[in-house]
Assembly symmetry: C3
Homo-oligomer: 262 residues x 3
């Protein structure tokens, strides 16, 4: 199985994502390319790290993830390739790969610096096309991991915000708002374990959330509730409505949720 999965902030209006595919197929016509998203907010490393973390484990083993959210393109930040227990990750060493790679178990990291695996002319603004795409295509073609560059001992990490738990309350936050306006929090099932519907005293801004359901269908119209979302985190949702609009949330992240522990 020969999958290269792409995750970028290039958008779908410009030619950028298409050119990565052109370069990949020019080097390795057998590659199967899957888009995770090209609509990461421009330069938002955290959002890309979350999307990658929510995605990678559904891909076939040995898939290669090429992640280009790269505000430091052309600077000293290194291009890297990470080998984990089940996958490969290629992208800038700015933390965007770290969350998923750590979750799967990092086995080895190399710099991507062997110019034989770049396009012959490398621009200073589009390494997705000139470095990351060709490197992925050559790697998929069988070029050995060790040939890509020197070994890297420490990669840049981004920290995923953990809920803060005290005796009287949990302070959590929204890390992503999806297309439906579901608000993905950094809490997991276990954090609200033991709370039944109506027993939860949680709030975000000046609005309360008192219910946790296991399906959307259980909820009443207009009522915000917790539900375990498809990426394994608790989400705040409304039935067939946007929780993002209900809570008047702008960028979809960094909003505090306070849960009182009874």
């Amino acid at each position: 199985m020969k999958i290269i999965a792409l995750l970028t902030d290039f958008g779908l209006k410009d030619q950028y994502a298409g050119l990565m595919k052109a370069v990949i197929l020019g080097i390795n016509p057998k590659a199967r390319i899957v888009d995770i998203s090209h609509n990461v907010r421009a330069h938002d490393i955290k959002e890309a790290a979350f999307l990658l973390s929510a995605s990678f484990k559904y891909f076939p083993r040995r898939s290669i993830f090429v992640v280009v959210v790269d505000p430091g393109v052309g600077s000293e930040r290194r291009p890297i390739i990470i080998k984990t227990k089940n996958y490969y990750f290629i992208g800038p060493d700015n933390g965007v790969l770290s969350l998923a790679a750590r979750e799967d178990g990092i086995k080895a990291v190399r710099a991507v610096e062997n110019k034989n695996f770049f396009l012959s002319k490398v621009s200073s603004t589009f390494h997705g096309r000139d470095i990351f795409a060709p490197a992925a295509a050559y790697f998929l073609k069988g070029r050995p991991f060790a040939c890509f560059g020197r070994q890297i001992r420490v990669i840049k990490e981004i920290s995923f915000p953990q809920p803060k738990i005290s005796k009287s309350k949990i302070t959590a936050e929204v890390i992503h708002a999806d297309r439906f306006g579901n608000l993905v929090t950094n809490m997991k099932e276990k954090h609200l374990k033991g709370f039944g519907p109506g027993e939860i005293k949680a709030s975000m801004g000046n609005k309360k959330i008192t219910r946790k359901y296991s399906t959307y269908a259980q909820a009443r119209p207009g009522e915000p509730f917790f539900i375990t979302g498809s990426s394994g985190f608790l989400e705040i949702s409304l039935k067939n409505k946007s929780a993002k609009e209900f809570f008047k949330i702008k960028n979809g992240s960094n909003h505090k949720i306070i849960v009182e522990v009874l």
Copy 2:
């Protein structure tokens, strides 16, 4: 030919459409995946039903359509697979498949309930990834239709609004606005048969439409007109302008058109 066509309301910012593809290719690497659209309005079953109906007949015979516009995900609504004269349709039994399936001729319907064809862990919020995508991939791989679940006698239908025709007028409506602002109506060529340009007395809101042309090029700038669109319905268009903006239409559907029969 091994095509799985996807039609969802998942949007292109989140990882959802990409994960359906990851799951499909993990089960069946030979699948060719074609996106019809992932930008159906959230939860808009009617819009998805229209887009599917306008699309399916252009795909090779035996293509499999996976349609996930599924506001009832996790509730009692059944996942189903429909075999029609030429195609297969997989999705929730909420009417979204009914328009296209009926048009092609329904041969048999099964519930999709055999857990061997699901992901091992099924979430309550993302059956696109956990049920519909794997079921389609296994079906494409040759798993027999009858193995997916018990036979279904009656599926949920959605009614496509028909124009109302009286002696003195036709009352039609807009069912879709496309990217160019063309307004797809529920009228067909036959409804305006015999009307020549300038003979039509039609109106939508307080604006008149008096022309029907066979190409955009025949129209004069700024003038709204009827034209037979590519999905077989009459559309209201302006030459190189948006009829949606001209008529100040918001969501693109449910706007009444009155045609006087002379």
Copy 3:
């Protein structure tokens, strides 16, 4: 290698791009389809011509580009196929192909008029599905170039605006704004050759640009600068900000830049 690259203004909400793929795969299941973009501004031939010109040379030799930005669909404008030194281009003869085709070197042009290579029923509003997609699929399948239609001597050209250079100044313009708000100009590296950072006296509207850098990282926050972009043109950028917003530019093109020659 069997690539058909698509560039259209169909957007990603409607079924149009998906139907082109359905038709292509129905005729030629071996085609590999790559989307350059479907989000060209509606009817914007110049934008599509620019995107094509910035893209084609990154595709494998003998790729076929199908470009459908076609405000004259259904009128007398001809569908054409162009053979260039390394590629093939299919689309309407409205200039959209001319920039890229001329750049690669035109070898021969044919009208696309052989109805054997069309869908059996051709609409008057969607030649992307009914003419251009099937023609590309048949051509990729080996149908001879000469069979598509009569030879064409002169194609419609669009002129790419050249910078105007006088003794005291260069008058250039913005031809495209990308997703990040980078403003692609019609100047190349050579036009600012010899200018060091701080020596440039350029302006757009009432704002000045005095720097040219080779990477984004060199720039100071909030400062607009020139940089050679990935399509080979000089771009005006801000570090991690949108130059489009900084200069309050609306459609992203046709804005004048004045560079004083010292």
